[in-house]
């Protein structure tokens, strides 16, 4: 491939790519992100290849392995173009039928379609499925139409046209002003306006400046940056290059965690292709602008998502935040002005440039513009990645897109913003998602993690869980974070074990203040958030644990007991057979009893007791009823009496 030397040549290449592609030719796209690979996408891909060869269709059908489509709950997903017929949870054995029926005969296979749980109706096309219908996938949407390993695919959907626009007619300042006008705020956590950050670096003294992609996504359950980098690496590179041009930087870094092997692989491929095409490297598109990108694989420390810790790690030292009171866009990597934005922020840049700030700002709230990708996980029917305009009420994300809580359970809270975020209760479900709105509610946007919790979730235990994560992930440098969290975790653990004392809440509040006011970095300062937000909205749960030794969610093992209601037990023996620790005293026609001394509280009996009996119940905060007398255990069956 010869280097593209001018924006005109780029357009010519794009035309020639498109001219070889017949939009009416059948194309099977298979979602091949990490999540779908784990649920069998690799095997499906092999089967597609084999079947196409077997049926001799090599010339008549295209196959494209794309990045993540977002609907991970139902993966692997196949979309058949041009009709956009959508099949879910595909197994290799479904492939021969798909090829012979849908590709050859143009027949839809009913059993592989999405069934609307509300109406029972089968839905054929992607855009009619509620999960997709209510989203606005401006950034993430392209994932489904490009093979991340093909720069031609990216060019075919208009890729690098924003870069060409910038290099052929916009001054760096005009680029900066456009990004500022769009009020693009950092999608990685803080929500700092990207344009302002860039401007600071641009105006900072020094010839050498850096632009950096933060792909050190580390929140439990969050994978939007991973999926973007895996599925559409060129969009991130294009945004980064535009940013470099605006800032006056000629060297960029991608800090990506090693645990994201597919993202690492795809980003290396994308850089190599970009260099071959002349979209990276010296004299990009004949503009005289030089820019190279270096990939740095991080060792997976959560704290390295913090900007100064990330830069310290890039310099080859242990990832600890810097104590200096100076912004890293002024004094950053190797002491030079450095702009750090996360994957999603960079991926938004080509859109802002191509379509303009006015277009971009039509989406969103007063202070949060554009869309945001959320990783919707936890107790939710449709697990996956969702992109919605800022300002969308939480309720819509959880119920319209997410399909609500499975198993007929009640919603309790949604945790946003990752470990340093907070839990938002049901009464605030109308809250529009936005940087300031979430912060005001005591949580934060973070990088877009959204963990849904149902009525069985204990909020004290949630706080304990996140504190446990954070004590592990703290760098350990400053006392308020390292020692403060150590003590907070101890107190929270003891509360969930029924050993909480009066004064524990106040002690936790004191420790929280010390961390918020005195910790060195944002991770430390926000470390008490899991506690503070659960205390704010679920104080009564803390009090029940401490004062009554009761877990209202019936979740904390040390505070609950399983008891078989003698009135309801029909001696079906299911629980006795399933109990893994022989803790159920059973017997034919004898009312069963849980031997509390042997019970490990695994909950098996509770789950297996037939719904028509519902004899096993969880109790908390009250004594276990005395054992039924041996002679009263015999059940006399009414049906047999008759």
């Amino acid at each position: 491939m010869a280097r593209i030397k001018t924006p005109v040549e780029l357009e010519e290449l794009r035309k020639s790519i498109l001219s070889t592609r017949d939009p009416n030719k059948p194309c099977i796209t298979l979602c091949s992100g990490s999540a779908c690979n784990a649920s069998g996408s690799l095997e499906v891909a092999a089967s597609i290849e084999e079947e196409i060869a077997k049926q001799g269709l090599g010339a008549e059908v295209d196959v494209r392995r794309t990045g993540c489509h977002g609907y991970c709950e139902r993966g692997p997903i196949i979309v058949i173009h041009p009709e956009k017929i959508c099949y879910f949870q595909i197994k290799p054995e479904d492939i021969p039928e798909i090829i012979s029926q849908t590709i050859k005969e143009k027949k839809v296979i009913e059993r592989l379609l999405y069934t609307d749980p509300a109406t029972g109706e089968k839905i054929v096309y992607e855009h009619d499925i509620p999960f997709y219908k209510y989203q606005k996938r401006l950034v993430f949407g392209s994932n489904g139409s490009v093979d991340p390993k093909s720069i031609d695919d990216y060019l075919a959907i208009g890729g690098y046209s924003a870069l060409a626009k910038v290099l052929s007619g916009m001054t760096p300042d005009a680029v900066l002003q456009e990004v500022k006008k769009a009020n693009l705020r950092g999608r990685g956590g803080g929500g700092f306006p990207a344009g302002t950050k860039w401007e600071g670096s641009r105006n900072a003294p020094g010839e050498i400046k850096y632009v950096i992609v933060n792909a050190d996504e580390g929140d439990p359950g969050a994978y939007m940056d991973r999926s973007l980098l895996e599925g559409n690496p060129h969009a991130v590179l294009e945004g980064l290059t535009i940013g470099a041009y605006a800032v006056g930087s000629h060297e960029g870094y991608i800090y990506v965690r090693q645990e994201y092997p597919l993202a690492v692989e795809n980003v290396f491929t994308a850089i190599r292709q970009g260099e071959e095409y002349g979209l990276l490297g010296k004299d990009i598109l004949g503009s005289g602008f030089d820019f190279k990108v270096i990939v740095h694989q991080g060792a997976g420390a959560f704290v390295c998502g913090e900007s100064t810790a990330l830069m310290t790690a890039l310099e080859g030292r242990a990832g600890e935040p810097r104590p200096k009171y100076i912004r890293s866009n002024i004094v950053g990597l190797w002491g030079r002005p450095s702009v750090l934005n996360n994957v999603e922020t960079w991926a938004n840049v080509p859109l802002v440039i191509n379509k303009g700030a006015d277009w971009f700002t039509q989406y969103g709230t007063e202070s949060s513009k554009g869309t945001k990708i959320f990783s919707l996980v936890g107790k939710i029917t449709n697990t996956g990645l969702v992109e919605v305009p800022m300002g969308t009420p939480l309720k819509d994300i959880i119920y319209q897109i997410g399909g609500g809580i499975p198993g007929g359970k009640k919603f309790k809270a949604v945790q946003t913003g990752g470990p340093s975020g907070g839990c938002i209760p049901e009464e605030l479900l109308d809250l529009p998602v936005g940087f300031d709105e979430l912060t005001k509610a005591g949580s934060m946007m973070g990088s877009g993690g959204m963990i849904v919790m149902d009525e069985d979730t204990c909020m004290v235990d949630v706080a304990r869980y996140f504190l446990d994560f954070l004590t592990d992930e703290s760098c350990g440098k400053c006392v308020p974070c390292r020692e403060g969290m150590r003590q907070m975790l101890k107190v929270l653990t003891r509360i969930t074990k029924g050993k909480g004392k009066e004064g524990d809440i106040e002690l936790l509040e004191e420790l929280s203040e010390t961390a918020q006011e005195a910790a060195l970095c944002a991770l430390g300062k926000s470390s008490p958030n899991p506690f503070l937000s659960t205390l704010k909205y679920f104080r009564e749960e803390y009090e029940a644990h401490i004062n009554q030794k009761r877990c209202p969610a019936l979740s904390c093992k040390e505070l609950i007991a399983f008891h078989i209601d003698p009135e309801k037990c029909q001696a079906c023996t299911t629980c006795a057979r399933k109990c893994p620790s022989d803790a159920i005293i059973g017997g034919k026609n004898l009312i069963h009893i849980v031997d509390q001394a042997k019970c490990t509280k695994c909950g098996t009996c509770f789950e297996v007791c037939p719904p028509r009996f519902r004899a096993v119940r969880k109790i908390s905060g009250e004594p276990v009823p005395a054992r039924i007398a041996e002679e009263a255990r015999t059940i006399t069956r009414k049906s047999k009496e008759k």
Binding site: V303, K324, D472, E473, K477, V479, P480, R486, E510, L520
Partner: protein, 205 residues
């Protein structure tokens, strides 16, 4: 170098360009407690004891003075109810690890810190990093370092380097505010230095 005028505890203080608030305060005879600070070493900002209140352009914030640059027209308050409360908590947290360290006991008295506030976990090390940084920055040997992170972080001598470099140095010993450093050294000596039991040196001296 240009002079900077700032106020510390109501007193006009002259500082030189590049000085931190802590340095400016100490040069004027105003004391601010520290554990991880050392004149010869780069500011570390780890213990957070030197936290003060800084008023700048009408807004008031808490900042640690060992890294906050002395700027003109700022007003620094080195003691306030809030500052004292935070220092007290930091001391209590550290006293759980090194309850008998003299430096901590003196400060505990000053700030009313209860050495029994938290359950004792005598690891002795307070992670001030003085030994680690002195060895790296002044001696340039890196014979002692931090290993692991978060609550599992600890200092450790690197046997391969320590067995060569530490015999005649031990300059870090007096820097340690607790006895943790010596203990760590003795441990690594016993476990990893060849023939140290006889006092003979591995390098053949």
């Amino acid at each position: 170098m240009s002079e900077i005028l700032l106020k510390i505890d109501g007193k006009e203080v002259k500082a030189k360009e590049g000085m931190t608030v802590l340095e400016a305060a100490r040069s004027a005879g105003i004391s601010i407690p520290t554990l991880c600070h050392h004149e010869k070493l780069e500011p570390y900002g780890g213990c957070r004891l030197c936290i003060v209140e800084i008023e700048s352009r009408g807004s008031r914030r808490l900042a640690v003075s060992c890294v906050y640059p002395a700027e003109k027209n700022i007003a620094v308050t080195t003691r306030s109810e809030k500052v004292d409360r935070i220092r007290k908590m930091i001391l209590q947290l550290l006293l759980a690890h090194a309850p008998d360290a003299f430096d901590l006991q003196d400060l505990a008295k000053e700030y009313g810190a209860d050495r029994n506030r938290f359950e004792k976990e005598p690891s002795f090390c307070v992670h001030c990093g003085l030994c680690v940084r002195y060895c790296a920055e002044v001696k340039k040997k890196n014979a002692v370092g931090f290993v692991d992170r978060g609550i599992r972080k600890e200092i450790s001598f690197i046997p391969e380097i320590a067995s060569k470099e530490c015999w005649n140095c031990k300059e870090c010993f007096p820097l340690c505010p607790t006895e943790a450093l010596q203990a760590a050294y003795v441990l690594v000596e016993a476990l990893a230095f060849p023939s140290s039991a006889t006092g003979a040196c591995a390098t053949g001296e």
